[in-house]
């Protein structure tokens, strides 16, 4: 089941009157369903201050009952200008999402809003010549917490849910934006009970905001003390020539009003040259009795001042249309603007504000992250990727270092094996060298002996004792051959101290020669350089002992 789109009821509370306008958005077009007024109960509201919220709630409830109750309705209640706090602030240039946090910081720093109060702000744009490095101007509109509580109590008593609590000036401006053809540059005079807000709009954007403390209460009070020709003129059509300036000619408040407007125009021309074409001045009043004020200001400024009328919106009935376009139409201007807060259409670009909601504590970190989402994401992403890669690279680096250390350890081990092998080989060589001393060079002795034998000499025995003593016995044909063998053997480097121990010819005649014995000593093996095997170990074929 399709849910019905609610209607919105703008409620404009004045000291003497309650004004409501009901608007419904249908097919994207706002339509005014009902307009109504009711007298404010006596003393329930004085100078914009709510004294009897329950009484006001009852009056509002009765008034709402006159509206179309077949559809659900939500209330946008206006906060009178006298109860709103206006402060113009400048903040450093920043991205749009960051602006609320900066404004919040300035508001808290300058203590613009009392504790428990609510505020909103409107950015004031500069012209096309403005540079990005210029400070941003904002108009802060705030309200004390007690005002919000009073209005909430009224809404609760009237049994209507609150859509928003909005300063009446913004509602009036929205009605102006919705119903009038916005000029390139327009100065709008929003007259409320105790003050008047001067707003410069350029291409639908607010560019300048100023408040002067002259409002409809003072103007009407002074005008009521004298003869009011416009009042007679309005009532009596026989008055041929209507001279509205006369109504406020001697009114100090009116003069001051016009003077302030004129000064503002001069200020704008001086300080905002880009808006030099402020060619139109509009005035929105909250009482039909102030309608001639525009002519009076026009007299001072020398340019036309047009009265803003709540016309141009679609109405449900002809009666409603007449109410809006008639002389009393200006009474509904603010209520209409409030009701249009949630409406589409030409007023959507007008600033909106809701001071009913609790002001959220701005988390500077969250705001910062929101404002700089792109750079933060880029920075965080870069750092994350860098950190991950750094860790991965570090891990790989550690693995390489570990492998390198392992290789170095293996190298050290292999070199240790080499050193151990060399040590073992050296040990074996030393063993060999030391133990080889225990042998005798028998092969070399045999070779030298064989080479030394002269013809007619034969060797019978050869003995080499463990203490290297050498004894050779043999027989020779004669002494000369024995001596020849001895002398030849004497040249052997292996035999030391060789001597002829004995020789014996024998006594028997049958003996063929002499026997002999040589004695000496030899060298140990380690003192001999061993010749190659082919020469040393293979005796010649002719060698015999």
């Amino acid at each position: 089941m399709r849910q019905l789109e609610p209607s919105y009821i703008g409620i404009d509370l004045h000291d003497s009157e309650i004004r409501v306008v009901q608007v419904r958005n249908k097919s994207g077009v706002p339509k005014v369903l009902r307009v109504a007024t009711a007298p404010m109960p006596p003393a329930a509201m004085v100078h914009g201050v709510v004294h009897q919220p329950a009484v006001i709630a009852l009056a509002v409830r009765r008034l709402i009952q006159d509206c179309d109750t077949s559809i659900p309705a939500r209330a946008v209640i206006g906060i009178t200008g006298s109860r709103t706090i206006l402060r113009a602030l400048s903040v450093p240039p920043c991205p749009e999402p960051e602006l609320p946090s900066l404004v919040n910081g300035e508001v808290e720093y300058q203590q613009v809003i009392p504790d428990g109060g609510m505020y909103g702000f409107v950015r004031l744009h500069r012209g096309a010549e403005a540079t990005a490095s210029e400070d941003i101007n904002v108009a802060v509109l705030g309200v004390d917490g007690s005002v919000v509580n009073d209005l909430r109590e009224i809404a609760e008593g009237a049994a209507i849910p609150i859509e928003a609590l909005e300063p009446c000036q913004l509602g009036t401006y929205r009605a102006f934006a919705a119903t009038q053809d916005e000029a390139a540059s327009s100065l709008l005079l929003l007259v409320s009970a105790d003050s008047t807000d001067l707003v410069l709009a350029h291409d639908g954007k607010l560019c300048f905001y100023r408040r002067i403390d002259v409002g409809s209460s003072a103007l009407l009070l002074e005008a009521s003390d004298r003869d009011i020709p416009w009042a007679d003129g309005a009532a009596n059509s026989s008055e041929p020539e209507f001279r509205p300036a006369a109504a406020f000619a001697d009114s100090p408040s009116a003069v001051r009003f016009a003077t302030e407007v004129m000064r503002t125009m001069e200020y704008l021309a001086r300080e905002y040259p880009e808006f030099s074409g402020v060619d139109r001045v509009r005035i929105a009043v909250d009482s039909p009795a102030l309608s001639p004020l525009g002519d009076m200001v026009s007299f001072y400024l020398g340019i036309p001042v047009e009265l803003v009328q709540p016309s141009g919106v679609e109405t449900a009935t002809e009666a409603v249309k007449i109410d809006l376009e008639g002389p009393n139409g200006t009474r509904y201007l603010t209520a209409l603007g409030l009701a249009l807060q949630a409406s589409p259409g030409p007023a959507t670009h007008a600033p909106k504000m809701d001071l009913s909601r609790e002001r959220k504590d701005v988390n500077p970190i969250v705001e910062f992250l929101k404002a700089h989402r792109g750079p933060v994401l880029a920075s965080g992403g870069a750092l994350f990727v860098g950190a991950c890669a750094f860790l991965l690279f570090g891990s790989r680096l550690a693995a390489i270092e570990k492998r390198t250390a392992s290789v170095y350890a293996q190298t050290t081990a292999v070199r240790g094996q080499t050193v151990a092998a060399l040590e073992e080989q050296a040990r074996r060589a030393k063993q060999y060298r030391m133990l080889s001393k225990e042998g005798v060079p028998i092969t070399f002795i045999l070779d030298d002996l064989a080479r030394s034998l002269t013809p007619g000499v034969g060797v019978s025995t050869l003995a080499v004792s463990p203490d290297l003593r050498v004894s050779v016995t043999g027989d020779a044909a004669n002494e000369a051959s024995m001596i020849g063998t001895f002398e030849s053997l004497k040249t052997s480097p292996l035999l030391k101290g060789l001597s002829i121990s004995s020789f014996d010819r024998g006594r028997e005649k049958t003996s063929k020669g002499i026997t002999f014995q040589f004695s000496g000593s030899t060298l140990s093996l380690d003192q001999i350089k061993i010749r190659p095997l082919a020469q040393a170990d293979v005796p010649s074929e002719t060698t015999t002992l």
Binding site: C94, P375, A421, Q425, L468, L523, L533
Partner: protein
């Protein structure tokens, strides 16, 4: 001169972060490159060390050795070796008598003065060496006996010959001598071998 904070946050901070990330990566890449170079160098050292070790093991400076490891079949292997050498040279082993095992003897100089230096008696290189003497008598002609002796003294294993008695007869020549061989028990590995074993494990 004023600092545009927004511009700093929008441009410089991300730029700085990206530069930091890239800088960190570049530094790490360089470190990895240097580490890989060190690793390659270490691999080269290792391969060189392995080649050097294999050369040392496969091509020892001296192939000859003094003592064979003392094993149960050492004696029979020795006798088989002697028989093979004698048979190969045409000599006949007539008699073989085993002797007592003993520590290596001291060396005697030709002048009869015994060398009792620490090199022989106390050198740790001979700590595990046992001397095993045997008396051998072989017969044959001169050439076969000479070749047999030459074969013995040129063997890789050290055989020392002492107390030689050569007797020539009309029918055959007989040679008796004392043949000494050496055996060793397994020695404890050296410090270098121990360290190498530890590192490899």
């Amino acid at each position: 001169m004023t600092i545009d904070v927004n511009q700093v946050i929008r441009l410089y901070v991300p730029g700085l972060c990206i530069a930091l990330a890239i800088g960190g990566l570049v530094v790490q890449s360089r470190k990895i490159g240097e580490a890989e170079e060190r690793h390659a160098k270490a691999q080269k050292f290792l391969s060189d060390a392995i080649v050097e070790r294999d050369q040392v093991l496969q091509n020892p400076a001296q192939k000859r050795y003094a003592a064979a490891e003392q094993q149960p079949f050492e004696e029979s292997e020795f006798i088989k070796d002697i028989r093979r050498r004698a048979g190969g040279q045409g000599a006949t082993i007539v008699k073989w008598t085993a002797g007592e095992a003993a520590a290596p003897r001291t060396y005697a100089n030709p002048d009869g003065k015994a060398e009792t230096s620490s090199e022989t008696e106390a050198d740790p290189a001979l700590a595990n060496i046992t001397t095993v003497a045997s008396q051998l008598t072989v017969s044959g002609n001169y050439d076969s006996l000479r070749r047999f002796l030459g074969d013995l003294v040129s063997a890789d294993r050290l055989y020392t010959i002492n107390n030689v008695n050569w007797n020539r007869a009309d029918d055959a020549t007989e040679l008796s001598f004392s043949l000494t061989r050496y055996t060793s028990t397994a020695s404890a590995p050296g410090a270098a071998a121990q360290e190498a074993e530890r590192l490899l494990n």
